[in-house]
Symmetry: C2
Subunit: 248 residues, 2 copies
């Protein structure tokens, strides 16, 4: 009982911090960066942070902790698997549209793509996410996939799932940091330097802190054994590994 209460406190924190991240990144780009468009200008670029934070961090993190919600622990796991896959697909689509926003913007300005470390880490996180989604779909949702394969896949899926999240966080932190150095140069025409911490810098840095806090909560939920779906807990698996019809 105490364990369920502390789970729900963490889960509410996860929902609240996720919402705060989306509001913060949207407000930043709306208020300080001129808003949104899809026309190859900087206004198209502005979709990039919003969609990456919303898709690759917030929706992804919420999709990852879904099986930890005790409401989903009924006999029939299938509807929750479908919801998990759907949330992750939505997260992946938003991330890919977010990448298109920045590629289009670069191409319109004849700026090369994928040279910075930020872009290398970001593209690696998205590519791993796409692979994870396809392999997860084939391994855990196709009825023809054998139990032995599912058992083999599961620890890799769980480890890679957490890893994609912290990789995405590293990509976001480096991206926000880079963007703030780009736009806050203090070049005399009204903009202040990043080093003076004007309001936009404080907002951008706070977005980074919110993302990190969200990641800490999600990875805490994922790593707490007591909060795992009972059939997946090692102490339960130890008693009936061979009878387990669906060990994943």
């Amino acid at each position: 009982m105490r364990s369920i209460v502390s789970f729900y406190i963490c889960y509410l924190l996860c929902l609240g911090l996720g919402l705060a991240c989306v509001v913060c990144v949207s407000y930043w780009n709306h208020r300080w960066r001129g808003g949104f468009a899809w026309d190859g200008t900087a206004l198209q670029f502005n979709w990039h942070p919003v969609l990456m934070v919303t898709g690759l961090i917030v929706l992804y993190g919420n999709g990852a902790v879904l099986y930890r919600v005790p409401l989903t622990w009924g006999q029939n796991k299938l509807p929750w698997k479908l919801l998990h896959a759907t949330l992750m697909l939505l997260a992946l689509v938003l991330s890919i549209v977010g990448l298109c926003a920045v590629f289009d913007f670069h191409n319109a300005k004849n700026t090369p793509n994928l040279y910075s470390l930020h872009s290398w880490i970001g593209i690696a996180a998205t590519a791993l996410f796409a692979i994870q989604w396809v392999v997860g779909m084939a391994g855990f949702l196709l009825p023809c996939s054998p139990i032995s394969l599912r058992k083999l896949l599961k620890p890799v899926h769980v480890w890679l799932g957490g890893s994609i999240l912290w990789l995405s966080i590293a990509a976001c932190i480096s991206g926000i940091n880079e963007k703030l150095f780009f736009v806050l140069k203090g070049n005399g025409n009204g903009t202040q330097s990043y080093a003076n911490l004007p309001a936009e810098a404080v907002l951008g840095n706070s977005l980074g802190v919110l993302i990190v806090a969200f990641g800490l909560v999600v990875l805490k939920i994922l790593s707490t054994l007591n909060w795992q779906r009972p059939e997946s807990r090692p102490e339960d698996m130890a008693y009936a590994p061979l009878l387990q019809e669906e060990n994943e």
Copy 2:
């Protein structure tokens, strides 16, 4: 047996990638950034990446996986606890000296400290590491600390331990990215722009990739239940939780 072989493959990878990170960050600063000094100039700054990568990433990661090495699984855990604490202390000291390098450099140039998101994440990682070390020392090494406190502390220590590592990685990625944008401006006096991916940019980006690969391996080792010290595994604890003399 198969599990031990795969552990040692991962562990060798962890040692090899850690060494590669240290060589790469040292070579970058020696070959492309003019080498090292402690004089308030950019040569003093060069200690910052070297010491942070060596302390906060490589030594820290190796200290974290120590209990997973089967060699350390003997009856007497105390010598390994002392080694774990010593490695972590060394990692903490290197990180603090690495911070002093950049603070001194900023102060000598009258540049403000701690304004960028990189610095916020980096200082948070180091502060959490210092707190984790002090609380870990008091909770797990002082003989007067009761078993009940150790049981309570352990999951927090393990979760925070992994979190500090990925936070440090996010700090390093954003720092390397920022540094490469600072120094590769393509301003005509012989330096090429980051966007053209000159040799220094490829080396810096590769350092980032090596750090991420190191983090993936360390967090894989930490998250694999089969590789935990037997007394700490949930399936073993389930049988004798009350007889366990030292459940940490």
